[in-house]
Symmetry: C2
């Protein structure tokens, strides 16, 4: 048969990460790799009650086709939850916030379109934008987010800038209030739309992060949110908020993709969220993840002592970002770590441009405190061995 693939399909390659990380599903491995929320945080009983009541009281509607825009009470709940004035008519329920990225790409990106991203950025966004064949351009970034001067320099003809200001994936960094104000003003001045992704914003440890960029300029931003980190990811439930000028196109793209997000899961979540459930539930997630972040930082300080290993202390979210000593390539380090029963994600694939091979991402949410201690010790051991090997090679005589 003459299966001729689309040009974009040739560029779809098996996710490097995914292939590497398949081995980490092996029993006995402590994975600091995946971005899996702790299943201890899933409100199972609340979901069970919601399902029972929903099917008992309104089963036919909960199982029938539904509106592409999403379940009206859930759209209202999303609007109510957000810290700026959102009309529920601007809320589109998506099959996970990942789908929001696909829809945004379909509506805003032509082949060759310039799209600005952070350095590094969320790998899943690069993968979602990929099929529309844009040219992602990395904007220089520091610990506070993207650097405004570089944003301004690269803004011309860009379709949008994709930003993850809170506890970013992969770095865990948060854009400061000052930086947000400057980025928002610079983007508005340049007429550059912002696509703001905020799956982790509720997972703050000591204080809530500054206001979203969208709250500062709703007409200039598309905002993506998710229930994956505050309730459960297996329902694949997210949302986007778009200016009224853009919303109809996103809705049409949504209809063509899956008609609507499963109404059953939308109604489950809507029911669970009643009576301000998240107000009492989310603090328990924050407390758990904070303890585990603290444990990871303590373990890193203890186990990496004396090594030139840099790491940050995220103020929320799920991930910590680290940089290994000179000479280390974390892609090469990973299989050796897996041999010692610990897994992480190498940092390089998260860069739209040239990646930093010394970086890696560690999740502190899936493994327990005890597992984190064991895993970081194993990682340090792997690293020390690798450094010894490098030193040996340096001392070895040059090949003749």
């Amino acid at each position: 048969m003459n299966w001729k693939l689309a040009a974009r399909a040739a560029k779809m390659n098996p996710s490097v990460l995914r292939e590497i990380l398949k081995v980490t599903e092996r029993p006995g491995i402590i994975s600091l790799a995946g971005g899996l929320p702790s299943p201890k945080t899933f409100p199972i009983q609340a979901f069970a009650d919601a399902c029972a009541e929903l099917l008992h009281k309104d089963g036919q509607a909960a199982l029938q086709y539904a509106a592409s825009e999403g379940y009206a009470p859930l759209r209202q709940a999303v609007a109510d939850m957000l810290p700026w004035n959102v009309d529920p008519a601007q809320v589109l329920i998506t099959t996970g916030s990942q789908q929001g990225l696909d829809l945004v790409a379909k509506v805003l990106l032509d082949p060759g379109s310039k799209v600005l991203v952070e350095t590094p950025t969320y790998l899943g966004a690069l993968q979602a934008f990929g099929p529309m064949e844009p040219e992602p351009v990395s904007v220089a970034s520091d610990d506070d987010g993207v650097i405004v001067e570089d944003l301004v320099a690269k803004a011309k003809d860009a379709r949008f800038i994709y930003l993850l200001p809170n506890f970013q994936n992969p770095t865990g960094r948060t854009m400061t209030e000052e930086r947000r104000a400057a980025v928002s003003a610079a983007a508005a001045a340049a007429g550059l739309p912002i696509v703001e992704d905020n799956p982790y914003g509720e997972l703050w440890f000591d204080e809530a992060p500054p206001l979203p960029l969208t709250a500062r300029n709703p007409e200039g931003c598309i905002y993506l949110g998710s229930f994956s980190k505050v309730l459960a990811p297996g329902l694949r439930l997210g949302f986007l908020v778009a200016p009224k000028a853009i919303y109809p196109k996103l809705l049409q793209a949504k209809q063509a993709v899956d008609l609507h997000t499963p109404i059953f899961t939308q109604r489950m979540v809507s029911a669970v969220m009643k009576d301000n459930f998240l107000d009492s539930h989310v603090p328990t997630i924050r407390a758990l993840y904070k303890r585990q972040r603290d444990a990871m930082i303590a373990a890193l300080k203890r186990e990496m002592a004396g090594l030139d290993v840099k790491f940050n202390a995220p103020k929320g979210g799920m991930f910590l970002w680290a940089r290994m000593p000179e000479g280390i390539d974390t892609v090469a380090l990973l299989p050796k770590a897996v041999e010692r029963n610990v897994a992480f994600v190498p940092g390089a694939p998260f860069y739209a441009g040239q990646g930093d091979p010394r970086t890696l991402r560690l999740s502190f949410v899936t493994a327990s405190v005890e597992e984190i201690d064991v895993a970081i010790a194993a990682l340090a051991l792997t690293l020390r061995e690798e450094l010894a090997l490098l030193a040996e090679r340096k001392l070895a005589p040059e090949p003749a």
Copy 2:
């Protein structure tokens, strides 16, 4: 803000049907328009039992992130259910079979690619393919499906032909065994891949339809299936089966779109399907829909007597196709029918090329037998009035 849309977004227009049909949600209207399965057929108690057990026994896994390929036992169940030798590794679980169309388009269609479709064809497929900007080409069709000679004449350089052989949407027609054999042979000889969509195949009334096209040449076909019509559409659960050469690209496209289909609904359906549940459940749907089809045909014969109205007698599925007398445009007829509290779908939007304005689609599954009687009488009355108006205009003196 400088929101510059992608070229494809300019071509996304609000679905004509959707806009017209919004009025049909008005209370008191009997809709023969939508493709909504009868909610009486949803096995609510079986879903309630499945949810309760699932959350009790395995709640954490049912709510966690999961594999992009789908839930392994469900993939196995799909493979077991299909009437040819399917390896579960070829099964991809999708967020409704609509998503399968989006993935197929992403992987196989470039801008300008020729894609062959039936005359008429499923509107949702045209909408799903649209964002990849192909050129759909209508293959002439009769009551038995596409006409082989025209398929052969148009096959050159087409990326695939999209076919819905069983109780097609919108026409309700079924491709005969003889036609399937000829289409399968002609497509294979031309090296033309087939995308076979089979959401309605299980809803046969007197005898099962002939073997799918994919069963005749699995390496030359992608097969799309759905749980929407045999269990419930609100879960948005479908699947595709693809040759091993194509599967990895579809999987990568799937990952980028929504990571995976909600695992909770996958496990619900997997649990409900245990112990051959469908073997006893689906016959109850068939019996209900058959009664309603019979009622619709009887009502059409009774109410349309003396009018030049043609309609078919589908052997299964959800839809009946009718052609109104000369001079009638069903798009213009619809608002008048809605005034008389009945709605249908005009046929013209279902054509990739020039539509036949006299055609319309009637669903016999959502409305009860009593409602069908009332609705068809109201439709006939609307039609008779419209015909009288046309006759009057003909008799009127020519404008000077």
